[in-house]
């Protein structure tokens, strides 16, 4: 059972948006800082750093997770998806991203990456959510700009389009 020393940097290997990557981290390094500073993946945002705002939400092994409540060393061997992995190809947005644009569901965009990652995961588990389900679900994210109404509209619209043409995700 290896004990990773507090003062050393350790190699972490994992899959990031389908690509095998590795970088170094001290045990205390948060996954948010690891993604942003060590790997340059700045799509994942940092708001509160204690699990409240949802800006840092990503996917770890298929489950939604707050990156700020995760240590880099914990994800050794894991499969991570971040907002950078959503677009099907450069220059093209996913159905969900496109809906956010159409409905003006972002202003400053600080909360957006986390909300997109949450919804992307949610729609795969629950393709036909009611508006109440979505309201409850979006309660796990703070947005200081939009007032949530456009976010809700975009989410409803995206869920509908994904049901009609699921392969375009």
């Amino acid at each position: 059972m290896p004990r990773l020393s507090a003062d050393a940097r350790h190699t972490i290997r994992f899959t990031l948006n389908g690509r095998a990557v590795e970088a170094q981290a001290e045990p205390r390094m948060l996954l948010t800082d690891f993604l942003r500073h060590e790997l340059g993946a700045t799509g994942t945002h940092v708001g509160c750093e204690h699990g409240v705002c949802g800006a840092c939400t990503i996917e770890i092994d298929g489950a939604t997770a707050r990156a700020c409540l995760t240590l880099a060393v914990q994800i050794d061997g894991a499969n991570i998806r971040t907002v950078e992995g959503l677009a099907p190809e450069p220059g093209r947005l996913s159905v969900l991203q496109e809906a956010f644009r159409r409905h003006h569901a972002l202003q400053c965009g600080f909360c957006t990456a986390g909300i997109l990652m949450s919804l992307d995961n949610y729609f795969r588990r629950k393709p036909d959510p009611s508006e109440d389900d979505l309201r409850d679900f979006l309660g796990g994210h703070l947005c200081r700009c939009t007032g949530y109404v456009p976010i809700l509209a975009a989410a409803m619209d995206a869920a509908k389009r994904l049901r009609e043409a699921p392969t375009d995700a």
Partner: protein
């Protein structure tokens, strides 16, 4: 906000977790989902020298029937229990309480046992465990012991777990025939800590009410099947005995009033859904 330095041990099996706890339990914290521990580390409310990670142990990730109990392993996430097909029939109180635990985005990693380990006085899972006469299974290299919920929680975020013990599982009795269960909570926003949370268990002969968020630990009261003013008087006496305090979120008086009103509503709901 960054955690202070600590060594990190990823336990490969339960025996390794026991060894790590035996060697450095006093200076260690066990981490599973981390949904409560990580903020405490980042705010430096706790500064362990060692973190022992048990999240990757398949042996701890099981929900199983064990006699009259449902045994939930230490790595079972709250979302996994919520999605467990027998939840409604076997653990209706948990079915009602779990949606109040954090948000979907934190329940996907937060564990059932982690919430019990932290023993926050306003947390829903410790409250439900107490209301149902559940127990905590603690283990070391040498063996296991089982501690009833009413002995496990000793005060504000403190329990009878010894430094070298691993919380391996919680045991929750299955729902009984002719018994109703209900859960209600009041908080500023859904997903916030409860200002007051109530769990009620009712039969035609008895009433039980467990209250969280008021005293320094979840607190339980049993009565015979009272009604009318006898019941409201009993609730009033209970509310006074709870030693409510003023804090940022609510005054003691407000909390007592919530215990009276919401306590009654929860008991009535439990009586209605008595099967």
């Amino acid at each position: 906000m960054k955690p202070a330095r600590f060594d990190y041990i990823r336990a490969g099996d339960i025996a390794e977790a026991h060894t790590a706890l035996a060697e450095c339990g006093k200076d260690a914290r066990v981490i599973a989902g981390g949904q409560t521990l990580m903020p405490m580390l980042s705010m430096r409310l706790v500064r362990p020298k060692v973190l022992i990670d048990i999240m990757h142990l398949p042996a701890l990730r099981k929900i199983e029937a064990s006699g009259n109990d449902i045994r939930i392993g230490a790595a079972v996430r709250q979302a996994e229990l919520m999605a467990w097909p027998d939840l409604r029939d076997s653990l209706p109180l948990l079915k009602a309480a779990l949606p109040w635990v954090g948000h979907a985005q934190t329940r996907s990693r937060g564990t059932v046992c982690g919430s019990v380990a932290h023993a926050d006085p306003s947390a829903e899972i410790p409250l439900s465990l107490l209301a149902l006469d559940g127990a905590v299974e603690l283990s070391t290299r040498r063996g296991k012991r089982r501690v009833a919920a009413n002995e496990f929680f000793t005060g504000m975020m403190s329990t009878t777990r010894a430094d070298n013990e691993l919380i391996e599982a919680v045991l929750i009795p299955k729902s009984q025939a002719c018994t109703g269960y209900a859960f209600q909570e009041f908080g500023r926003r859904h997903g916030d800590f409860a200002i007051v949370a109530c769990a009620a268990v009712a039969t035609d002969k008895s009433i039980r009410l467990a209250v969280g968020g008021v005293a320094d630990k979840p607190t339980l009261r049993d009565w015979p099947a009272l009604d009318g003013t006898a019941l409201t008087d009993a609730l009033d006496a209970f509310a006074w005995e709870l030693d409510a305090r003023d804090d940022l979120h609510a005054t003691a008086r407000y909390r007592r009033e919530l215990v009276r009103q919401m306590g009654l509503a929860t008991i009535e709901e439990a009586r209605k859904c008595r099967a």
